[in-house]
């Protein structure tokens, strides 16, 4: 039944705002002259992705499918973490995940930018792991999940180390009006805003506006957060207006494109948002690129 793929990454991007960047590289269809006034070309960066845990029998195939999906959808780079299947993660568990993430960088050169995943509750072992991954393995950031609310003092050493190493923290987040099962310590936009106030030098990414419950609540909770708190667009929810409200409320410079493995939802909602091409260019990669360049 399968037929040769009819849509190339190039032709897809020509139909989306991401084509703005690639058109300049000579890969996309020609674009209007107004682009000359727009920002510099930038890669399309998915700021929220995951590689498969090697406990899954088909982990290699799953990782390969992720890269193939990125190829189809015009995503140049994926910022990936590997999470332990059960949480709270043990130090042994997150070290194993991070070692696999480092291997993935070798398997997919230029495509995978790894986050170091730790459970801050592991104390010094978590701090040591972050330092090892960033300094020795050249990871691009830190991924924190739901073991602790981000304003819990136990998280502070990780935040302070991320500031020292000049890397962002992608923090799992959500806000529902009914409890999220199994996630008593989930952080929300309000917590991330508070953490941003406490640590203005940190670069904090509030995860998946499309996968974290009431997205209108989250956007409003982040409205007065400092400029060091970003919001990623990932998640399976594709409600009309979600991207526009985030941009209108927080400003386009604080919005980062992501999929969190909901690939066509992630790309499609950016494609569908009523934003100008330069705003889409910023969301799709330029903003994340600026964060990545913090390390120098």
């Amino acid at each position: 039944m399968a037929a040769p793929q009819s849509l190339t990454r190039r032709s897809f991007l020509a139909a989306s705002a991401a084509g703005v960047a690639l058109a300049r590289r000579g890969l996309g269809a020609s674009e209007g002259g107004s682009e000359a006034a727009e920002g510099e070309p930038s890669p399309v960066i998915d700021c929220h992705a995951h590689l498969a845990h090697h406990g899954a029998a088909d982990w290699e195939a799953r990782d390969r499918r992720l890269i193939e999906a990125a190829d189809k959808l015009g995503i140049d780079q994926l910022c990936c973490s590997i999470l332990t299947p059960k949480r709270p993660a043990t130090a042994e568990g997150f070290r194993e995940c991070n070692a696999w993430a480092a291997e993935a960088v070798e398997r997919f050169p230029g495509r995978v930018l790894p986050y170091c995943y730790v459970n801050p509750g592991c104390g010094q072992e978590a701090v040591d792991e972050v330092r090892r991954c960033i300094e020795d393995r050249d990871f691009m950031g830190v991924k924190l999940y739901n073991e602790h609310v981000c304003t819990d003092p136990v998280v502070a050493p990780i935040v302070e180390l991320a500031i020292e190493l000049r890397v962002p923290i992608l923090h799992h987040a959500g806000h529902g009006h009914h409890p999220f099962p199994g996630q008593p310590n989930i952080s929300d936009g309000g917590h991330l805003a508070e953490l941003g106030r406490r640590y203005p030098e940190a670069r904090l990414i509030c995860a998946h506006i499309g996968g974290g419950g009431d997205w209108e609540w989250t956007i409003k909770a982040l409205r007065h957060a400092s400029a060091n708190v970003f919001l990623d667009t990932s998640g399976s929810v594709t409600d009309e207006g979600i991207v526009e409200m985030a941009v209108d409320t927080l400003g386009v410079d604080r919005i980062l494109f992501g999929c969190d493995m909901s690939m066509t939802a992630g790309v499609g909602k950016i494609r569908g948002a009523r934003l100008n091409p330069d705003d889409k260019r910023k969301i799709l990669g330029a903003n994340m690129q600026q964060i990545l360049q913090m390390r120098g």
């Binding site: 793929q5 849509l7 189809k72 959808l73 529902g176 594709t238 790309v267 499609g268 909602k269 494609r271």
Partner: protein, 260 residues
Amino acid sequence: MIIDVNAYLGHFAFRQLRHNTADALLRWMDEKGIDRAMVSSASAITYRNTQPANEELAHAVQSHRDRLIPLAVINPFYAGWEDDLRACHEQFGARGLRLYPKWHNYALSDSRCHDLIRAATERRMLISIPIRVEDYRQRSWLVDVPDVPLAEIVELVQACPEARFVLVNGAGYTGSLGKKDNGLPANYYIEISRLSAVLANEIGQIAANLGPDRLVFGSGMPFKYPDPPLLKLEVLDLAEEIKKQIRNGNAARLLEWPSR
């Protein structure tokens, strides 16, 4: 041509919808290349008496019947559903029903529900069932409405073999509904807006296992951006002929339109 089997007009109780009038929806459909859409009232999801919402819908689509295909929302446990069904079909031209068993608090297995489906089917009306209205994680503090379990759909399609069902806003059809030789009547169609087209590629799996003639395009407009399902059609590793079936052929057959 693209036929959207999953669209709405009107207001939703828990979130502002934009582009939710007939004119606005049509403009949006034009932007996206969607030719026709099956629409029901979003307001009817939370109305006790849904008929005024069906009347509003009928009025809204009256001068756009070439493109907007009305579906009526009816609760078989509400007094006078038989009268409402007759009015929706005969006066308003509804081509189908949209059922909300969880929002309207009844069981799909109840004989009254089967009576409604049977009566609609006798009128050659489709039965559209949204598996969910919105993502469960964002539900209001006022409600705790679950998704319709697919196991209940399995029982329903077996119990009403003459009916034609369109399952929208669903995912996870890896059980019997998504498999050939599942012992179920071939009386249901699966809409793609929440199905993956890459990674697990649920659309490809259903096309291979159940058959491409059982997949239909839907967007969820104006609740959702139409771009993700349109993008799915672009990136799917399926022959163009199959994509055409999903875009319009299967829905046209459902609507009993002459083949083009």
